[in-house]
């Protein structure tokens, strides 16, 4: 470890303009095939709202819409305070390059206070992360290097032609930031997009595809995320219906103590 910023924090370093707009730059550490990994865009939009001078409380919900390809280089994020109640607050944000709104987001923040609580979901069964080998053979995409993957099941296998029968859309993975970084909401927002596009896995074929919209709910406080520290999260993912250029995806991110930290869903565009 050096004193250098973690790549995630470097990606979230903005310069505030006089009009409140935040100037940022795409991160080479989270580059995907033809643009940034969607998770880093989600984290950037969340950080921009966290940095808003009127922001109260902690992130509860985020929807990110991927509207246009984000080009390598500079961007500006503009955050609009839509409505602030006593304890719940709504923002709308746009990530802009030139004249193009490349991404938009709505976000809900809240000053959360203790209430009755109940945890109905059961953590998926999985061997401890130390017993699951780290994935070392990865396609040469920068963002795949920004995470450590330990596949319990559902490792995507890409072939030169589609499988004769569709494979399962499910995967179960221990995943962590690489290099290690203590968990917080911006890291969690990015982790919500950490799954290989399901249509690739199901078909065994890489075709043009990309997330169009992603919604994440954050169930845990900053303190609870901090307790997780740098240890891997257990991530489960599945999809229900593919067709006519789109498919859905549902996922859960669990602490290693068995608490559901985030639930997330997305709709993915694909061709062919």
């Amino acid at each position: 470890m050096t004193d250098a910023l973690h790549p995630l924090d470097a990606a979230l370093a903005f310069t505030a303009g006089a009009d409140g707009a935040l100037a940022g730059r795409t991160s080479p550490a989270y580059w995907n095939m033809v643009g940034p990994f969607g998770g880093i865009t989600a984290a950037q939009l969340l950080k921009a709202a966290l940095d808003h001078p009127a922001r109260i409380g902690e992130p509860v919900a985020q929807t990110v819409n991927f509207c246009a390809p984000i080009a390598e280089g500079d961007f500006v994020i503009r955050v609009k305070e839509v409505r602030s109640g006593r304890s719940v607050q709504h923002f709308y944000a746009e990530l802009v390059q030139g004249e193009t709104i490349a991404a938009s987001a709505t976000m809900v923040f809240a000053r959360r206070s203790p209430t009755w609580g109940h945890h109905t979901a059961a953590m998926p069964e999985a061997p401890p992360p130390a017993d699951v080998p780290v994935l070392t053979k990865k396609p040469p995409l920068a963002w795949l290097g920004a995470y450590e993957f330990r596949y319990v099941s559902g490792l995507p296998i890409m072939a030169s032609e589609a499988f004769p029968e569709p494979q399962s859309a499910k995967s179960l993975i221990w995943v962590a930031d690489q290099p290690p970084r203590p968990l917080d909401h911006v890291a969690l927002a990015s982790l919500c997009d950490v799954f290989i596009v399901r249509v690739f896995q199901v078909r065994g074929l890489r075709t043009p595809a990309g997330t169009v919209s992603m919604t994440s709910y954050f169930h845990a406080s900053t303190e609870e995320l901090a307790r997780q520290g740098t240890r891997p999260l257990l991530a489960r993912v599945d999809s229900t219906r593919f067709g006519d250029q789109f498919h859905d995806q549902q996922a859960e991110l669990w602490s290693d103590e068995g608490k559901l930290l985030a639930t997330t869903t997305q709709v993915v565009w694909f061709r062919e």
Copy 2:
């Protein structure tokens, strides 16, 4: 049946202003306790985008944020075209009363064309709707009269004090517009919010609560929805984690032919 507009269509009748803003009015037929049923607000925001002169294609995704109570009376919806690609289009909309943005939404539309398809989810087992009695004893809330409910399981029971142990958050329901109305995307958007708030069901207690944000993905085309006609949909709902004033909810809406028409998720605020 008369020639009068169905209450849903009456709720979606807007007057376009010179600036493109749409003037509407809250619907008494979909009134909830202290404001409109959230589903009708979702339908109104979706209809406003459908009415946008630049709109292409069909609804794919919608996120609605419930920012402030909507008062009985007039409102204005402003729809912004965020980005239009060749086949995918992004909108942002606000529902405004006076100076207050009471609801916001992002919506994705697309000109969908045939691709490889796959349906991984299995329809929940349920007796046919004709074998499940229609719920007749309902709390006196107008919107509950706008739907016909046939509970297969998980009928919420409200008590004067909380159950000693939390009940299941699951429900399985045959549900249809009442009076009957052929299914389309605006009806489906509203049906995505048709579940009694899960915290009421789990605790058996009605406390202040309300949906803060809801995301729905529409998997079916207009033609597929039209084939469903006026027959009930099978709706399944569950939640995973409750605490610190919020809980999530995940739901599916199925055609009676076993196709998943929509997946939807929401985050609900509650007190105590």
